[in-house]
């Protein structure tokens, strides 16, 4: 693959970076990232990955754009209200960077389809931009069982946190959180609110991790949980050990099949 003049100009600020260069930019253009959820986290992650020239971006979301999404889900515009989020996301990306092939999956992830979605383009990296624990555990378990790296994140109110799983290199999400909390026990953004920029900050960190993984540069948030408090402007990088009791990646794993956990009633779409 050789670059066109337009690509040389578009990616010139990357190409000039010693750690990226023509070689790194080529890697990005040949890479495939799956983003599950095109909301608060997925929207900015998708936009920066598209702008960076990640050649294939998969978007998974069953939802349609709502007016209340627009305070933070910057990939969707006012004219998109009512449109499937994956279509709205694809249109925004196509307008921004025609180099990107956007693959849409207008589905909720479940044990029935997540393996097929990941296999569809044999994605290199997965971004968890979902809003609920059943999906977060599903993405974790599927990634561990299929040997795929992924970025986990969560945001609520003025806080966010993120970690990166790389097979064989550190703990998975389930090493830290053994099982999902019972439905309705831990508040969601819908119930508790979230400052719009939280997804921008944390989702952009997820995109940074994907890019670093693809380029093989720097140190990932593998074995660390990065927490961010917007009110105190405090970032903390908490070292996380691997948990030998982990049910999916520990010494004696008991989870060998994917599990569909019960979703909180308040999160189900009416």
């Amino acid at each position: 693959m050789s670059f066109t003049n337009e690509q040389m100009e578009r990616y010139s600020r990357h190409i000039i970076l010693k750690d990226v260069g023509v070689k790194g930019q080529k890697k990005l253009l040949e890479s495939k990232v799956l983003i599950v959820g095109t909301g608060g986290l997925g929207a900015p992650a998708a936009m920066f990955l598209a702008a960076a020239g990640v050649g294939t971006i998969g978007l998974v979301d069953f939802d349609a754009v709502e007016l209340s999404n627009l305070q933070r889900q910057i990939i969707h515009l006012t004219k998109d209200v009512g449109k499937p989020k994956v279509i709205s996301g694809k249109e925004t990306i196509n307008e921004m960077n025609p180099d990107v092939d956007v693959v849409t999956y207008k589905e909720w992830v479940s044990s029935a389809n997540i393996r097929d979605i990941i296999k569809d383009r044999d994605y290199d990296f997965i971004i968890d931009g979902t809003d609920n624990f059943p999906a977060k555990f599903l993405i974790n378990d599927a990634s561990v069982l299929m040997g795929k790296p992924f970025s986990h994140a969560g945001i609520i109110r003025f806080q966010g946190q993120t970690m990166t799983y790389v097979p064989g290199k550190g703990p998975c999400y389930r090493c830290i959180f053994e099982n999902p909390p019972p439905p309705d026990k831990v508040p969601t953004c819908k119930q508790a609110g979230v400052l719009g920029v939280m997804g921008g900050i944390i989702g952009t960190i997820q995109a940074t991790e994907a890019i670093k993984y693809i380029l093989g540069i720097g140190e990932l948030l593998t074995g660390y949980l990065l927490t961010y408090d917007a009110l105190t402007m405090e970032f903390r990088k908490i070292k996380l050990p691997k948990n030998k009791r982990c049910q999916v990646c520990g010494e004696n794993p008991t989870i060998k099949e994917l599990i569909d956990y019960e979703q909180a009633v308040c999160d189900l779409k009416s």
Binding site: G40, D131, Q161, I176, K185
Partner: protein
């Protein structure tokens, strides 16, 4: 004695169990909080018996959802 909880110094009059520490620190929804002491994730069933010691570095790790809706 002094311990560190989520990066901040906390003074305690005596050794307490992890369960008591969660109460002293007024941790909400303690049933769903993961506790890590000195880089080791605790088994939830040890919360009532395990005590925190001088100089321990304790992290309470919270579930955080959010993202798509």
């Amino acid at each position: 004695m002094t311990i560190k909880v989520n990066g901040k110094d906390v003074s305690l009059e005596k050794e307490v169990t992890v369960k008591e520490l969660l109460e002293i620190q007024k941790v909400e929804m303690a049933d769903y909080v993961t506790v890590q002491i000195n880089d080791e994730i605790l088994d939830r069933k040890d919360f009532e018996t395990l005590t925190v010691k001088e100089g321990d570095v304790v992290e309470f790790l919270y579930f955080m959802g959010g993202g798509a809706l």
